[in-house]
């Protein structure tokens, strides 16, 4: 927001690009969980575009992004976050879009600040991003430009370098002061994680998915489901995804055709999906787990409906799994 405003204030036309990778925190979890539905549903990038009065283009890169997640040339951060490769890829995609004849832009700006992020925003990574994205010296970072060599827009005089900044480090006070000076009094929470791949728990679930499949691959539906419900893996060949509340129940019910489903008939309880290739005894175990997470938890017996993927549905009576007996290592 700040970088855009700084450039707009020099009389330059700016439009925004926002990428959808499938791992975006914003949006999905708010849309799924009922308790989050009460929260404001604002899409921050659209909100920023409105505040600035610019167009925003939201681009779906989720398919091509798989290769970045699966094979990051520069490696992962603390979890499965390929931040440097991600940045390079996004700048490359922005360049491809911006320099298309029909769009006709002359350069790209980002809000990067040297030292603000440990993996992707360091002095030594700035030229790597510019070079490997192919944007080269048409990539301008208005907030820390004075620490970097002049780019094409500065050398050509399209942008006045003297009006750019020399911010660095994790301290955001200078940016907040500039925001205040520019009359920006509301902005999205700084340093808030916006990518599930930086989340330890989520990364563990993704790694578990790859382990169980014996190969590192995913579909967009897989990564959506990792954001929802309790994931319990009693064995390598199957995993049970149990909804935690009504919103997740509704979301999981959209996958009835693609997965085996389990629902308790005798007591109120959650909907569950079974991922993998469960045997009949695995399904019985899964049903016991599902019963444990519903009102049947303290009952001696519960009756559940199992709808196998592509098979004939049947009813099963089981003893709910005692909570204290579920091995800790089953929880993904």
């Amino acid at each position: 927001m700040l970088a855009t405003k700084v450039i707009m204030d020099q009389g330059i036309h700016v439009e925004g690009i926002n990428f959808f990778t499938g791992f975006c925190v914003e949006g999905h979890t708010h849309a799924i969980r009922k308790k989050d539905k009460e929260k404001q549903k604002r899409n921050n990038s659209l909100w920023v575009a409105e505040q600035l009065g610019i167009k925003l283009h939201i681009i779906d890169i989720s398919e091509d992004y798989k290769d970045i997640v699966l094979n990051p040339k520069h490696g992962y951060g603390q979890n499965l976050n390929p931040c440097l490769d991600c940045k390079i890829f996004m700048v490359n995609q922005a360049k491809a879009w911006a320099f298309m004849e029909e769009n006709g832009f002359d350069f790209i700006i980002t809000g990067e600040v040297i030292g603000q992020r440990p993996k992707s925003q360091r002095l030594e990574t700035m030229p790597i991003i510019a070079r490997e994205s192919g944007a080269e010296d048409r990539l301008l970072r208005p907030l820390c430009a004075k620490h970097l060599p002049p780019t094409v827009p500065e050398r050509e005089g399209w942008v006045d370098r003297e009006k750019l900044f020399d911010f660095h480090g994790r301290n955001r006070k200078p940016q907040m002061a500039l925001a205040n000076e520019l009359g920006i009094d509301e902005y999205s929470q700084p340093a808030g994680g916006c990518c599930f791949l930086t989340d330890e728990h989520y990364s563990r679930k993704l790694a578990d998915l790859w382990d169980a499949r014996g190969e590192r691959r995913y579909e967009v539906d897989d990564i959506m489901l990792l954001k929802v419900g309790r994931h319990i893996r009693p064995a390598n060949n199957f995993k049970v995804i149990i909804s935690r509340e009504e919103g997740e129940n509704n979301f999981l019910s959209g996958y009835k055709r693609e997965f085996t489903t389990i629902k308790c008939l005798s007591h109120p309880g959650p909907l569950a999906l079974v991922d993998g290739n469960p045997s009949d005894s695995d399904l019985e175990l899964a049903a016991r787990l599902v019963a444990r997470y519903g009102k049947a938890r303290s009952a001696d017996k519960a009756t559940l409906q199992i709808e196998p993927k592509g098979g004939e549905g049947f009813v099963i009576e089981v003893a709910p799994y005692p909570a204290e007996e579920i091995p800790e290592e089953w929880y993904v």
């Binding site: 849309a31 539905k37 959506m224």
Partner: protein
């Protein structure tokens, strides 16, 4: 009263921002004056699609709820 839709877009089951992305892609194929009716199930689309329309200068003619469906009607502008 909303105008008669000339084009339909189904984004049921998709979560934001995908309904916005599909709307953006569809509108790129349309002509000014065309009326697009987008059907979604993610309540977030009720905020995001009108916001996207505002920044791109398209007009939201109305929105309504039909059971679990949310239907947003848009007039494509220049």
């Amino acid at each position: 009263m909303t105008e008669q839709a000339t084009h339909q877009l189904n984004t049921r089951r998709l979560l934001c921002p995908l309904p916005v992305i599909r709307t953006q892609e569809k509108i790129r194929e349309l002509q000014p004056g065309d009326i697009l009716e987008v059907t979604c199930t993610d309540p977030g689309a009720l905020h995001d699609i009108p916001a996207w329309c505002r920044v791109h200068g398209h007009t939201v003619l109305g929105s309504r709820q039909d059971d679990l469906d949310i239907i947003i009607t848009i007039r494509v502008e220049e």
